[in-house]
């Protein structure tokens, strides 16, 4: 289905989904911790906006609730918690530079093409308009994974993990019109609990190795045996 045949609201969904993908790239390449948290908050807000517009376009009122939940949790509460954590860990001005940023970003572009290739057979089945977004959400998931592989800083890795969850949520909303409410609530609280646990872990890691650079964890296990 070409975009010109779609109603305006569904076009808006496509535009918002594309911007979600862009925020994924911003997260991937963002060096400043606080700005990365802001980018994550924007991504959550946009995912909520996608849900809201899908709800309006598809007349599915149960999606309003999930949009509200996403907005509160992913755009406000989790970023606020992360912000407070970063402040308490005194990482406000921390800069975590990506090694070879251009190459990593190109790898992410490759992932977008790969996920499009994966989804292609599904899109060709002449299904609803939102199926096109599955490729985008898959790309968001894969870029989150890429972020966890390439970034060394623990907080940024958590951001990558959370943005993977955003991608899954986007896929659920666009492909099937949202998950059942029970599942959605369960996932939301899982994420929240994960966030709290991550916070505890940050302090543990920091107390043990004096930094949140996860690469040091490796080095410690290698030299750990020699220490008295």
């Amino acid at each position: 289905m070409s975009i010109t045949q779609l109603p305006l609201l569904q076009q808006l969904v496509l535009v918002l989904a594309a911007i979600v993908l862009f925020t994924s790239f911003v997260l991937l390449a963002q060096a400043r911790l606080v700005s990365a948290i802001h980018a994550f908050a924007w991504q959550g807000g946009l995912a909520a906006a996608v849900t809201g517009v899908v709800a309006v376009a598809g007349h599915s009122p149960h999606l309003y609730f999930s949009a509200l939940l996403t907005l509160l949790l992913k755009a406000l509460l989790i970023p606020w918690m992360l912000h407070r954590l970063v402040h308490r860990l005194e990482l406000d001005r921390h800069v975590d530079l990506l090694r070879r940023p251009a190459l990593v970003v190109m790898a992410a572009v490759g992932l977008v093409i790969f996920s499009y290739w994966l989804v292609l057979p599904m899109v060709q089945q002449e299904l609803a308009f939102t199926r096109n977004i599955v490729a985008i959400s898959l790309a968001v998931v894969l870029i989150g994974l890429l972020m966890m592989v390439f970034r060394q800083q623990a907080v940024v890795q958590v951001l990558g993990f959370m943005s993977m969850e955003n991608g899954l949520f986007l896929a659920a909303v666009s492909a099937t019109g949202g998950m059942p409410l029970v599942v959605e609530l369960g996932v939301a609280f899982d994420v929240l609990v994960a966030m709290v646990l991550f916070g505890v872990f940050f302090f543990q890691i920091r107390a043990n190795i004096d930094t949140l650079d996860v690469d040091r964890l490796n080095r410690l296990t290698e030299t750990g045996g020699e220490e008295p």
């Binding site: 535009v15 989904a17 251009a102």
Partner: protein
């Protein structure tokens, strides 16, 4: 009757090209005026760029001993190439014969020709500043050009043509369609335009600070009418990018036919769009700080990424199966 139509459309094309050259200093004056207002100054009058050009055109030309013929020829080449590029961009009306001869790739090529001669002229005299400016300009343009072409290809894929008039026509015929690819292409083109016209995050047009200047460093040795032509060319280039952005992404109001009422409406519409764009540029220049030169590649990488996402967004989201 047929001859009359052809003659009138060519006449209009010529008029539009003259309008480009005539309006360019006004846009610069407007941007400076808004910037002055934002800084709580009264600022120079709106017509000051015209006065500067007039003054420079009347002044004696001084040329360094070491300068070759190239140094004298460069201002004319730069101005004519930029002006020719501008004449292919639809300003007031779409259906003009100039748009049929030159597509957007020719426009990019003509701008590259102008930049090539500008850089050569910068190095010709052999001063340190000229060479430095030329090398910086080449660094910026080598990164900006792929991003620009990629953004242009995104538009061309939607319109199935690289011709600017067809792109505008396709946009007008489709009515209001929210296209993710256009959004990204707009972002990429804005970043490229800022870099190519030497505006603030990349270059500062208002200073002659030796460590940071790019464009000013290359034309440091020029005086008199040569300098006037160089500055005028830079102003035409700014107007070209402004019109390109305004008329491709928001083509509404542009004259589809050659009827006088349509043309007046088209002129008013483009003037309004340029006023808004100029004010936005002045606001951006007031809010943003100039980047270090070595940050410029990251800035232009962002433009390239946006253009790439535009292309991918077009393929993934807009074509469908």
């Amino acid at each position: 009757m047929d001859y009359l139509l052809i003659a009138s459309s060519w006449g209009l094309a010529l008029l539009q090209a003259l309008l480009f050259a005539a309006l360019a200093p006004l846009l610069v004056g407007w941007v400076r005026k808004v910037k002055a207002w934002l800084q709580n100054r009264r600022g120079a009058p709106l017509l000051q760029p015209y006065r500067d050009l007039y003054k420079l055109l009347g002044k004696e030309v001084r040329v360094a001993h070491t300068a070759s013929v190239l140094f004298r020829a460069a201002p004319y080449v730069v101005f004519i190439a930029t002006w020719l590029a501008a004449s292919a961009v639809p300003l007031v009306a779409v259906a003009l014969p100039t748009a049929a001869i030159a597509d957007i790739i020719v426009v990019v090529g003509l701008l590259a020709l102008a930049r090539f001669f500008l850089a050569l002229a910068g190095m010709d005299v052999g001063t340190a500043f000229g060479g430095m400016g030329a090398s910086r300009e080449m660094l910026v343009s080598a990164l900006a050009e792929p991003a620009m072409l990629m953004a242009v290809f995104t538009l061309a894929m939607t319109a199935h043509s690289t011709n600017l008039a067809s792109v505008v026509d396709a946009q007008l015929a489709g009515g209001l369609v929210l296209r993710p690819s256009y959004l990204f292409a707009l972002g990429a083109l804005v970043l490229v335009a800022l870099a190519e016209t030497g505006r603030i995050p990349v270059d500062n047009p208002a200073t002659h600070l030796e460590l940071t200047m790019i464009h000013e460093a290359m034309i440091l040795e020029y005086s008199g009418r040569h300098l006037a032509l160089m500055e005028w060319a830079a102003q035409v280039k700014l107007l070209l990018y402004g019109v390109l952005i305004a008329n491709i992404f928001l083509p509404w109001g542009i004259a589809g036919s050659l009827a006088p009422a349509d043309l007046v409406l088209g002129l008013a519409a483009v003037a309004l769009k340029l006023l808004a764009l100029g004010a936005a540029l002045a606001l951006a220049e007031t809010v943003l700080a100039k980047m270090r030169l070595f940050r410029a590649p990251a800035f232009l990488n962002l433009a390239l990424l946006l253009a790439l996402l535009g292309l991918l967004g077009h393929v993934i989201l807009e074509v469908g199966a």
